[in-house]
Each structure stands twice: as structure tokens, then as C-alpha cells.
Point group: C2
Chain length 320, copies 2
């Protein structure tokens, strides 16, 4: 599969960082002797669970919003999402004082509706089908002139997400490997672009639930497979690659490690118990990848992008 | 009540820090815009939940162990405890390569027995009565010559605990108020000694469950009240003040704020949800104190010592 897409470079991520660094939190990198002993390597957790809105998504959304010119910005931004991207875009827009139109399925969890509304997002509910989502989005976009900000098939969003690994490398430059979770591929694309661009000897892996292994298969077979009704606890990793993320990962990613559900739950609980930080299931997937492939990581210095910490505390996976 | 006790000074805590700083983790100080908005002040969380063994107790235990001369050390240390102090003393002793004898009630939770054993503690079980605890401890002490390390009625332990606020003040010197939880008073004594000694204009408050308000009553009435079967979720704060901690707090503490159980649970959940860190109920008590007395804290810069993060993830308070 050939691509004529404009792929980001490390310098685009550095420029993005210059634009957003005053708006995003510089999240800490945490280590734990106990975790290192358990995993058999030295792990550096880049804690985007401490990022504003509780997820790395705020980086990409902020960058996309700040890249709009004043005329575009005045008409606002729009997306269809029920997850962290919607909350991130709502907050990023409100920080610039512009409207964010969020199309959400009417059956989205109450907690997510409240989060988006709390950040000032203007919600329109739609039927819970892909068709109605997109039609509702297009209708409101036509009415308002708002700019559509895709959660990951977007150059500026990807550059924003890459700033997490830029900070990580500033904080811990001596890494051998960096691992990020992969759903639609925005975070992993930004990560691979930056790390491979500036530190070509560092390996970059994606980590993916075995039950949602479309990225693994897509890169292996060099074609984008859709992610069809995946059953995984890692609810941030349900989507499939896009043309842009597929192209970037084909160029820069050293591989995708797939992990079974049970290991994701075990890794998540291990991080909670030993690190004392709250990470969402999607963030436990890279940790599970280390447990899945111990030989690959043994004795290495490994950076992990902890993608977020938005978890329903009334429904923890080990209690189901 | 007069005291001839030798009270620690700020310089004793500085000396303690010189001795232990390579052995303890320099824990981060975290902030959250969302929490600050919620509480109406700027809060700086000194994250001792990230300390080794998951609690500040490792500071005091390490200091007490390092203060032993070689002859004393060779005979080991002993304590009776089922909590964080036991785990901390076991690890501190194993780091120096000396034995730690831990007397635990036979009905202690399995998770705590495992933690102490995992850190190399030599456990002796006793009947779950204060009398049998002490007799068992004295018997083993006589047999081994081990030095008894009280969890808080101990000069060196208190100096060790004070190093958490020493680091906090290095990390965020512009505080108006510092709040720490109070059970036996070791952490609050170290905190008040250091902060009042070096920053006399900073206020230091203790925070205590209303259902275990013996420290509040003891300081008010100038006599040590025992803590009799207190019913509180804050299981680290069940003990009463000792002669030493009573004397220190009488000299240096600006007051104790008591908080109802419901507010402790609410504060704990708020910290989990907004900070994405795991704190134990005892650590939520100072946060609840801010919610209880908003006028006292409004607009101020407030340091909180997050005492620990050891929580049974199968039994969270909002699920009972």
C-alpha cells in the first residue's frame, strides 16, 4: 500500500511542543523498585494519567485547537466521540474561548456525558450507530462551520500526542525501548515519529489487546483491517488504524505486541498495588506486553506511556 | 502536664535526612487544577504513598535502624504491629542486613502477613490482645537482645518521619499551612517540629477522624486520653498519643481538625478520581479537613502529607 500522505517529522513534534507546553501539564515520570523487580527491567512510567482531563488526549486536542487561525477558531471545533478525546477537545476549546460541538451516542455512560459537559462541550446526542454519528456531525458542521478534529487521523493531533514522548526523553534520555498502547494509533504514531526521529537506536513497540489485534494484523499484512466489535476491557483501544496512522506506523514502529485479557487485568492491578497510581485498562496493556515478552525486555530501560487514568471506580475489572 | 522529655529540633530532622536520604525515595509533590478548584485553595500533595513499602513509615524505621551502633544492630530490631510500621521496619532491617522480629496478632489480615514476610520480617504470632502482644515482644526481645522500635514514641522514628516535610518544604517553600494526619502522632510530631522550627509563620494542623478524636481532646485538655476501640475507616489512625508525641504537639501544633467518616470517604474518592493516585483512608483525612473548614484554607497554599497508599483493592470504602 503506497501513501502520498504528509507524514509528521520529529521537528513537527518539537514545534507542537513549543505551542502547547504552557497549556499542558508536564507530567512526572515515575519508577518503582518493586515494579522493576517484578518485571525484570527498569521501567519509566510517563504519567499521562495525571494530564489534564486524565489522559494524553489533551495534548493532541490542544495542539489542533491552537493551530486554527482566528477565523476558523471563531466557528469552533467538532468531533464525534464518547471518550477521552471528546473531553479533551471540549477543555482545549474552552481554554481558547471557542465552542466545541461534541456528538455523542445517546447511550454513552452518564459519567462521560457529565465530563464533556463539565468542560463546556456542547453535546448533541445521536443514535448509537456509526451512520447517525457521522450524519449528525456533518449536519452540525454545516450549520456552524466548525472544524472537524478527528481523534487520531489528524496531523496536528498526532504531533500533539508525540509531545508526551518528547518530555519522556527529556526526563529519561537513556532508554532502550519505548512502548505505547495502540488503538487508532494516534499516540503510537506521535511516539514513534519523535523517538525514531531523534533516537534511532531506541526501539518503539505498540501494545494491543489480543482481542482487538487489528493493528498487529494490519501492519503484518500491509493493509488496514477494520476493528470489528472487539471484546476487550481496554476500552480506549477499540478503534482501527487510519490511513495516516497506518502509514506512520509502517514507517517507524518496530512491532506490535498483543496481550490476552487476563494479563491486562493482572498488569493493571499490579500497577495499582505497587505504583499506587490509577491507570485505565488501556494503560495496563504496555505493562502486560512486558509480562508477555519477558525476554525482549529483560534488563532493559523501558519507557511506557501511561495513556490515562479515567476509570469507573464503581466497576473495577477484578470485581466483575 | 510537664515534660522532661528530650524533644527533637529541626536540626535533628536535618541530620536524620543526611543519614537516610540515600535509602528513602524522594517522593514527588503533585498538584491538580481540578482538586484546587474543588477545594478552593492550592494544595501540594507530598506523595508518601509512593514511598517504599507504600508509606512514610519507611523514613522513621530506616532512621531508627541506621542509628543503631554495630553491636546493637547485630542483634536486630523488634516491634509489635500489624500495620505499615511492621513492613517498614522489616525492609529497613533487611537493607542493613539485620533481623527484624515482628510480633503480629494471629488474626491480622493475610495481606499484611505476606507484606511483612515479603520484606524479610521474622514473624511471631500472638493472641490478639495488648497483653499477649507485649509479653510476646518482651520474651523475644529477651531471647534475642533485639532493640525495640516503637512505631511513634521514639525520638529517632519521629525525626525520620519529619524528613517528609523537610523535602516538601524544599520542593514547595511558599506554603501557608501544612496538614498531616494524626494517629499516634509520629508523623505530625516530625512535621510540626521541622516546619515550625524552620518556617515559624507556617501553620501546622493535624487532621483526625471525629470517631477517633483522642488527639484533639488530649491537646485541648492537656492530658493524654487513650483511644478506646475507635470505629473509623482510617485504620492508620486508631492509636493514641504517647508522652513524647503529646509533648511535641503541645509545643508546636496549631490545632487538630476532626472530620466525620462520610467526609473521609468522599475526600478519598475525590483524590482517586481527580488526582489518579491511590491513597489510603488515613491520607484522605487531611483532605477532608480542608472540606470541613473551607474558610480556614480558602485561597491559601496548603501542603498535605499523603501518608500512604496501602489499600485492599478488593474492599474499597464506597463499595461496602
Amino acid at each position: 500500500m503506497e501513501s502520498n500522505l504528509n507524514l509528521p517529522l520529529a521537528k513537527d513534534i518539537e514545534k507542537a511542543y513549543g505551542l502547547i507546553c504552557e497549556h499542558v501539564s508536564r507530567t512526572p515520570v515515575l519508577e518503582s523498585r518493586s515494579v522493576n523487580r517484578f518485571l525484570g527491567c527498569s521501567v519509566f512510567f510517563k504519567c499521562e494519567n495525571f494530564q489534564r482531563v486524565g489522559a494524553f488526549k489533551f495534548r493532541g486536542a490542544t495542539h489542533a485547537v491552537l493551530r486554527l487561525n482566528d477565523a476558523e477558531a471563531a466557528q469552533g471545533v467538532i468531533t464525534h466521540s464518547s471518550g477521552n478525546h471528546a473531553a479533551a477537545l471540549a477543555l482545549a476549546a474552552s481554554q481558547r474561548g471557542i465552542p466545541a460541538y461534541i456528538v455523542m451516542p445517546e447511550n454513552a455512560p452518564e459519567i462521560k456525558k457529565k465530563a464533556v459537559a463539565g468542560y463546556g462541550g456542547i453535546i448533541t446526542f445521536c443514535a448509537p450507530t456509526q451512520t447517525d454519528r457521522e450524519q449528525t456531525m456533518l449536519r452540525i458542521k454545516a450549520e456552524t462551520g466548525a472544524t472537524f478534529i478527528h481523534p487520531y487521523d489528524n496531523f496536528n493531533v498526532i504531533c500533539g500526542q508525540g509531545t508526551a514522548s518528547l518530555e519522556l526523553m527529556q526526563q529519561n534520555p537513556e532508554l532502550d525501548i519505548v512502548v505505547a498502547p495502540v488503538g487508532g494509533g494516534g499516540l503510537l504514531s506521535g511516539t514513534a515519529t519523535y523517538v525514531k526521529g531523534r533516537y534511532p537506536n531506541v526501539q518503539v513497540f505498540g501494545a494491543e489487546p489480543l482481542n482487538a489485534d487489528d493493528a498487529h494484523r494490519s501492519l503484518r499484512d500491509r493493509t488496514i483491517y477494520p476493528s470489528i466489535k472487539p471484546q476487550t476491557i481496554a476500552d480506549g483501544l477499540l478503534t482501527s488504524l487510519s490511513p495516516l496512522t497506518f502509514s506512520i506506523l509502517s514507517a517507524h514502529c518496530d512491532g506490535i505486541i498483543t496481550v490476552p485479557e487476563q494479563l491486562i487485568v493482572e498488569a493493571m492491578r499490579m500497577v495499582w498495588e505497587r505504583m499506587k497510581i490509577i491507570v485505565e485498562p488501556s494503560s495496563a496493556v504496555p505493562v502486560a506486553a512486558i509480562m508477555q515478552k519477558p525476554d525482549l525486555f529483560r534488563g532493559k530501560r523501558v519507557g511506557i506511556i501511561i495513556s490515562g487514568g479515567n476509570v469507573d471506580l464503581d466497576r473495577l475489572p477484578w470485581q466483575r
